[in-house]
């Protein structure tokens, strides 16, 4: 309000209080609005200040003019005695809709003015913002410095809430610590090698056929065995390992072919992937007990080390994407409805398809060049049949899924969707191979 307002003659002689903020600007407010604030009220009563411009009450430093405006709006609304509780509540809800930066400033200012209802309101709003977020999100929202040292952060969190995820996080952090140390030692080792997938097509076929009847658990077991066998191979011929990892993550696709090595990843990426890895590795609560049985423990160990190793190896960004897609896909089977998963699977598939097609393309080109025409034709027919069978099977599964949806049997449904997805993917691979075989010059 400017001084000019004073010149307007008002029928009711309202008295005004003058307030001065820390930056020197002076405002005038209606008396009853200002008196709603305990600190201003006290100032007026005790020192008699505020009655004119020269004797403006100086407000604490934390109150700037913009925030003062907000506070006065609040006071203006609430000091009217005739409002119902509902009205006040609705006003409050609308009032605190502002960005967090302003909210913090408002809290601080309200506290310095000792306006307790407003402090409560803003505290509750801030609590609501914090609630349910991960630490990274909270840090981002409030621009908190991430200044706990690696070591401090990796100190096993006091397991206050006994969250299985926190326990897993602890374990992963412990392993991460080991990795950190190892990395320190191996800092100068060059790690650029080409990856060659030595598996043959028959291997691929047997794998696919063998994988049809297995459950999730045994599949992972199979992958583990493969891991162990390949361990003596050089660090980055880990397309196998990559493939295994993806299988673990429930993306049934053949191993990827990494054509190029990209520069090393920053620690941040590793951090974020390792941290994001854990919440997404959504084991059933039933699987994780206080004392994991040794098999599970080993599996966990292996997976983590695998993952860490893969992080150290040089993946193109694409692979990272696919990895995360694969991870999310794993999440999905846990909590689903049929339609959602289908929609999602098509999205996930597109990423995976590209990869699979890429692989399929390159491999096919290499492998099939050596076959004669007759062999090619037979392969063609073979693939055709397999592809059609897949499709038929998928159709029946889909109708089965629909029936189950109606009966609402979720667990069955999720498993079915997994298999359905795999079938689709496989069918597409076959299709592509077919095309290549047919049209290869």
């Amino acid at each position: 309000m400017s001084e000019g307002v004073m010149a307007v003659v008002k029928p009711e002689m309202k008295s005004y209080i003058w307030l001065q903020t820390a930056d020197g600007s002076i405002q005038q407010v209606e008396e009853e609005v200002a008196m709603f604030c305990p600190m201003i009220c006290r100032e007026i009563i005790q020192t008699g200040m505020g009655s004119s411009k020269n004797y403006a009450i100086s407000l604490p430093q934390r109150v700037n003019p913009a925030i003062l405006g907000l506070i006065l709006d609040y006071c203006r609304f609430h000091q009217v005695p005739g409002r119902s509780n509902k009205e006040r509540k609705t006003y409050d809800e609308k009032f605190i809709r502002m960005d967090t930066k302003k909210l913090c400033e408002l809290t601080s200012a309200a506290d310095s003015l000792q306006l307790k209802p407003l402090v409560d309101l803003t505290s509750r709003a801030l609590a609501r913002i914090i609630e349910g977020k991960t630490p990274e999100e909270i840090r981002e929202t409030f621009h908190l410095p991430d200044d706990l040292t690696e070591e401090e952060k990796l100190e096993p969190l006091r397991n206050i809430t006994d969250d299985p995820r926190i326990r897993l996080l602890n374990r992963l952090y412990a392993r991460k610590r080991k990795e950190l140390r190892e990395r320190e030692k191996l800092k100068n080792v060059e790690v650029e090698e080409e990856r060659v997938d030595e598996r043959s097509v028959e291997d691929l076929l047997t794998f696919i056929n063998g994988g049809d009847g297995e459950s999730k658990g045994s599949r992972t077991n199979k992958n583990k065995k493969k891991n162990r066998r390949r361990r003596d191979q050089p660090k980055n011929s880990s397309s196998e390992a990559n493939g295994n990892h993806n299988k673990e993550l429930d993306a049934l696709s053949p191993a990827f072919h990494d054509s190029g090595a990209s520069p090393s990843k920053s620690t941040k990426l590793q951090d974020s992937t390792s941290v994001s890895f854990s919440p997404k590795l959504d084991f059933d609560d039933a699987d994780i007990d206080d004392d994991l049985d040794p098999a599970m423990k080993e599996e966990l160990d292996r997976e983590v080390e695998d993952f860490a190793r893969r992080l150290n190896s040089h993946w193109p960004d694409r692979m990272q994407e696919i990895l995360s897609l694969g991870q999310e896909r794993r999440l999905l089977p846990m909590s689903i409805n049929g339609d959602g998963s289908r929609r999602y699977s098509t999205a996930a598939l597109s990423g995976l398809e590209d990869a699979s097609m890429q692989f399929a393309a390159t491999e096919a080109v290499e492998k099939l060049a050596i076959f004669s025409l007759q062999q090619r034709v037979s392969i063609f027919v073979c693939f055709n049949i397999i592809q059609m069978q897949c499709f038929i099977l998928w159709e029946s599964m889909y109708s089965g899924m629909k029936k189950m949806l109606e009966k609402r049997r979720k667990t069955e449904n999720s498993r079915m969707t997994t298999w359905a997805n795999m079938l689709i993917l496989f069918r597409d691979c076959c299709l592509l191979l077919l095309l290549l075989v047919t049209f290869q010059p």
């Binding site: 967090t100 506290d111 801030l126 609590a127 914090i130 410095p145 991430d146 706990l148 969190l157 039933a286």
Partner: protein, 413 residues
């Protein structure tokens, strides 16, 4: 780099923020940044309820998990603890609670809420009675035994005991030795047959259970009373001894009462010894009466009428029909229509009548109220589901009303 605004808020503000977070999120803030590492540990409110500890798949583990969590939190926490609440529904009573209460008694605890939902009553240890800074005590499913030397809780303002076992004398002793007691809620107290409430500062009193006798003493600040007797304990001996009615006896000690709620069989208790010519003094502050009554019973209706006559400034009346199997002492058919009841409800604004079935005494009563309440604004009638409820409505429409602003609202059962 955006400045960090939240960490530099004053401590009391951050405490306020953490207060509004459930325990789990509050503790998680410890890994946000170095300054936030121990902020959660000074928040003086420890609430362990369902929100704090979500449902685990095997319930037998829950108790041990909660025990370990509370142990750790109590050790890591520093500063005073003002409130400790343990009300998780899956938690079973264990002897660890004794240890915690002992620990709390050394931390100037002010508010203890202990609810044991599983297992049998938990025997509260005697160290609870040494928490002299206690202002609020709430127990559910416990059993209390007084220590050898019990001086009372000097600062106790609110006491809430539900489903608690304790001795008769101990309860009276407890109440009278807490000079600052303002709110007293008792429900399902086992081992209690009569009660004498002696608390000078008591303002709210709620009782729910079965008693032979209740009396108030020295309760001149009592503003709100709710009595709900689940059974009518007929005590003919007492009746013979008494020469004054229970109603008189109770009301004489409640001079400042504003809200009186008598539920279930409470009115029957008050009806003992009623005499229409010995009316209690007018209670000018009595503004709200809520009552469960069987209008077919003569004594009940008489008591009700006497009660109404002591409330000249009655503002709101709520009546719920409370049918009984045997009607002892059938009522005179013209009880309410007799003009000798001269009770102008001069300030009565709102009347709520629930559960009636359209019997003559009930309709007479409604007619009586409508005729005598010139300031009536609203009457809400909600009968039980009977086949002739439309007759009820037609009768209602016929009644003459003293107030020209009265609305009669019929609520479908």
């Amino acid at each position: 780099m955006e400045p960090d605004r939240i960490t530099n808020l004053p401590d009391n503000v951050i405490e306020g923020i953490l207060l509004h977070l459930p325990m789990r999120d509050a503790v998680r803030t410890s890994i946000l940044s170095s300054k936030w590492r121990y902020k959660w540990a000074t928040v003086p409110y420890l609430v362990f309820n369902k929100v704090f500890c979500p449902f685990y798949q095997n319930p037998t583990d829950i108790t041990s998990k909660i025990v370990s969590i509370i142990d750790r939190v109590l050790v890591l926490h520093f500063g005073v603890i003002h409130k400790f609440e343990l009300s998780h529904r899956e938690f079973e009573a264990v002897s660890d609670i004794d240890r915690w209460i002992l620990h709390l008694s050394r931390r100037s605890i002010e508010n203890i809420v202990l609810e044991i939902w599983q297992s049998e009553a938990y025997k509260v240890p005697s160290c609870l009675f040494y928490c002299q800074s206690l202002t609020n005590l709430e127990l559910y499913n416990c059993s209390l035994k007084p220590p050898s030397i019990f001086e009372g809780f000097r600062k106790l303002e609110r006491l809430d005991l539900q489903n608690v076992t304790l001795e008769q004398d101990f309860l009276e002793n407890l109440i009278s030795s807490c000079p600052n007691l303002e709110i007293l809620y008792l429900a399902d107290i086992k081992g209690l047959s009569r009660m004498n409430v002696n608390a000078p500062k008591l303002r709210h009193f709620d009782f729910d259970g079965v008693l032979e006798d209740i009396s108030f003493e020295n309760t001149f600040n009592l503003v709100r009373v709710l009595i709900s007797f689940l059974k009518n304990v007929k005590n003919d001996q007492c009746r013979a001894l008494r020469n004054s009615s229970n109603l008189l006896k109770i009301l004489v000690n409640l001079p400042t009462i504003k809200v009186l709620k008598l539920q279930e069989y409470a009115l029957k208790y008050l009806a003992v010894g009623i005499e229409p010519h010995k009316l209690p003094e007018p209670h000018v502050e009595l503004k709200y009466i809520s009552i469960y009554i069987n209008l077919n019973n003569h004594e009940d209706s008489l008591t009700f009428l006497c009660l109404l006559s002591t409330a000249p400034n009655l503002d709101e009346l709520e009546m719920t029909a409370h049918p009984e199997e045997q009607t002892i002492g059938g009522i005179d058919t013209n009880f309410w229509e007799d003009g000798c009841w001269n009770l102008p409800f001069s300030k009565l604004r709102v009347v709520k009548i629930t559960g009636i079935s359209g019997a003559k005494p009930e309709m007479d009563f409604i007619k009586f109220v409508l005729l005598n309440s010139p300031a009536l604004e609203r009457m809400v009638v909600e009968p039980v589901f009977t086949s002739d409820r439309w007759e009820l409505v037609t009768k209602l429409l016929c009644f003459k009303r003293a107030s020209n602003q009265a609305e009669i609202i019929y609520k479908n059962p």
